[in-house]
């Protein structure tokens, strides 16, 4: 079911957690809310769930305004970072909970509830563990039970709050792949909150990057990584170098000598952002960023090189075969990047 968030705001005391935020989520979409802690991503999720209520604005599920509905009536599946399984109930009773608390008229028979719970247990690949207690399961298994429990009520939208945050790296990776597969099979509209960009880029159909209660950018993982819309997105998602450059008469002269129009900026400061892998070595004599290699760290096929330039420290990545050593004087040319000045931005690709 599609979910629409309209101009929603929520403050805790004097601090605005979510500020005048609007978002459209397509039916069946797998959407990531990505941001640092305190960016309002969890608050947004809780507003959609009905755990928090907005100060203003609306949340619509398929056109129905749910802003004033209590959490019980929103029919959402909510999964917590710490699983929040009912510790005194067996796995099967955890999963069956949502069906067994229904009003008599809408409640399936005991046998049907049990069959449905076992079916869900199979879906999350935990058949045979139905009689276990939560404390007898591993973290990854608990999170899968929590998901099965949420799916049991046939939620209109599935909301996951840092679902893999409490798990170790290996299990996280497995569960990511597994969640993607589950989403493909069941097709639930799914929102998940994460501060892990890898997780967001790998899993989601679209990523919402949030900062300070506002949306910085919404886009596919490639759009977010390749064409970051703001300085924040550029530095938050992936590695980025930042260089300050002067704007003169609406023009910025790049270290390579090229001139870029920034009509809106007039005079002032612009910031050039570029990725470490978007640089190349220039031959001496050519223009570019000149500097001295400080350190070189090899990781697999690429080496990360820290270069001290007149613009500050710049990180660059080269194939490990490149003969570079600390103390060496080199010249770098930036192949691709973006300039930001005030609200103005120019994306720029070197012609070479």
């Amino acid at each position: 079911m599609e979910v629409t968030v309209q101009e929603i705001s929520k403050a805790f005391g004097d601090t605005a957690a979510v500020h005048d935020l609007s978002l459209e989520i397509a039916s069946g979409e797998l959407l990531a809310l990505l941001g640092p802690s305190g960016s309002g991503k969890t608050t947004l999720l809780r507003l959609i769930a009905g755990i928090e209520f907005a100060d203003s604005g609306k949340v619509l599920f398929g056109g129905q305004d749910t802003s004033r509905l209590p959490i019980q009536e929103r029919q959402i599946g909510f999964v917590f970072q710490n699983y929040a399984l009912f510790r005194h109930m067996r796995v099967i009773d955890n999963i069956a909970f949502g069906l067994s608390v229904r009003k008599r008229a809408r409640r399936p028979s005991k046998a049907d509830i049990r069959a449905r719970a076992l079916e869900l247990l199979e879906l999350v690949q935990l058949s045979g563990l139905d009689q276990r207690f939560p404390h007898e399961l591993s973290g990854g298994q608990r999170q899968r039970v929590a998901l099965a429990r949420a799916l049991a009520i046939e939620p209109r939208v599935l909301l996951l709050d840092e679902p893999f945050g409490a798990l170790d790296a290996q299990v996280r990776k497995e569960l990511r792949a597994w969640l993607k597969e589950l989403h493909r099979k069941t097709g639930h509209t799914t929102l998940f909150v994460t501060h892990d960009q890898q997780e967001a880029l790998e899993l989601a159909d679209r990523v919402v990057v949030m900062n300070a209660g506002r949306i910085e950018q919404v886009g596919t993982p490639s759009e977010i990584y390749d064409t970051p819309a703001t300085p924040f997105v550029f530095s938050f998602v992936g590695q980025a170098n930042r260089i300050g450059l002067p704007v003169v008469n609406g023009q910025v002269t790049l270290p390579g000598g090229e001139n870029v129009e920034m009509a809106g900026a007039g005079h002032g400061e612009a910031e050039l952002f570029f990725r470490p892998h978007d640089v190349a070595l220039s031959k001496t004599g050519e223009s570019g960023l000149s500097g001295r290699v400080l350190t070189k760290k090899r990781s697999g096929l690429v080496s990360a090189v820290l270069v001290e330039t007149s613009f500050g420290l710049v990180e660059a990545e080269f194939p490990s075969g490149e003969p570079l050593h600390a103390g060496q004087e080199i010249r770098l040319s930036v192949l691709r990047g973006a300039l930001f000045s005030g609200g103005d931005s120019v994306r720029w690709v070197s012609e070479r």
């Binding site: 769930a49 009905g50 755990i51 209590p70 959490i71 019980q72 929103r74 029919q75 959402i76 599946g77 909510f78 917590f80 710490n82 929040a84 399984l85 009912f86 510790r87 005194h88 109930m89 909970f97 949502g98 608390v101 229904r102 207690f133 939560p134 404390h135 929590a146 429990r149 949420a150 049991a152 009520i153």
Partner: protein
């Protein structure tokens, strides 16, 4: 070498260890065990028939019956209050929350005698409410209702104090999860909250009950010591003692002591179960 060194760091010399244990043992013997044994020795000093006579005395039976009645009224009331207070304090934010938390501790910090006096001032003959109560034929002070009120006051913190730390540690996420699955607030309480706190609740009930049956100070002020009517077991023990009827005093006291021992045994049993549950929770 390294192992020996670490062993030396971890423990004291045997002499120090034994001295500490002996000191503690002597202390417990002198202040806890010997008085307790003394109660039973004194109770049976004049033999079993005298003991049985003492506890079969109509006044003794009336006192024990009154004590049980008071406990049966005040403990359930404090369970309801304690659960409600702990639930409100740990699961909701509201103005005056810290004030409520402090108020719950008040009976711990006030002398029971003062608690009793306050009830006399409030409900006694010379009080503001006194004439109204007399007009409607309601007796509070020097009657059973006063004893119940004083007992409730004194035992008020036991259940809530036992539940608050546990419920705080458990947080609200299981409740939110239950609500998100469509459960009503009532269903959430019965199916999620209550099972999670059942051992702590039972433990609180035991402590509350032990205190309700043993309370002396507050009850002494409001009871009036009318034999066979408003004399609870602890008060009756004191009266017997003051009349130099030592054997009977200790016989009735032994009933109270026995009750304390049963409570202690039940508490230990619960701790064993509850500790197990706690370990589970930590593993969760």
């Amino acid at each position: 070498m390294a192992l020996e060194a670490s062993r030396r760091v971890a423990t004291e010399a045997p002499t120090v260890r034994w001295a500490a244990i002996a000191l503690m043992g002597a202390f417990l013997l002198l202040f806890l065990l010997m008085p307790l044994i003394g109660v039973f020795v004194e109770a049976f000093r004049r033999g079993v028939p005298a003991y049985l006579d003492a506890i079969r005395d109509p006044e003794a039976i009336a006192a024990i019956r009154l004590t049980v009645t008071v406990a049966l009224i005040s403990v359930p009331l404090n369970v309801v209050f304690g659960v409600a207070a702990a639930w409100a304090i740990t699961k909701f934010d509201f103005p005056g929350k810290s004030l409520l938390t402090t108020l719950i501790d008040l009976p711990f910090s006030i002398s029971p005698v003062i608690a009793g006096l306050v009830y006399v001032l409030l409900y006694g003959a010379g009080s503001l409410l006194g004439p109204w109560l007399r007009l409607h034929g309601i007796e509070v002070i020097f009657a059973v209702p006063g004893i119940v009120l004083a007992t409730i006051f004194v035992t008020l913190p036991f259940v809530a104090r036992e539940l608050i730390p546990l419920m705080e540690a458990q947080g609200k996420t299981e409740e939110i999860a239950a609500l998100s699955l469509g459960a009503s607030g009532w269903q959430t309480f019965w199916k999620v909250t209550l099972p999670n706190i059942r051992w702590a609740l039972l433990y609180g009930v035991l402590l509350c009950n032990a205190r309700a049956m043993g309370e002396f100070g507050a009850v002494s002020v409001v009871s009036g010591h009318i034999r066979g009517q408003t004399n609870t077991t602890p008060l009756y023990v004191e009266i017997l003692y003051n009349e130099y009827n030592f054997a009977a005093a200790f016989a009735v006291a032994s009933i109270l002591a026995l009750l304390a021992l049963v409570t202690l045994a039940a508490k230990t049993l619960l701790e064993w179960r509850y500790g197990h549950g706690l370990a589970r929770r930590n593993g969760h």
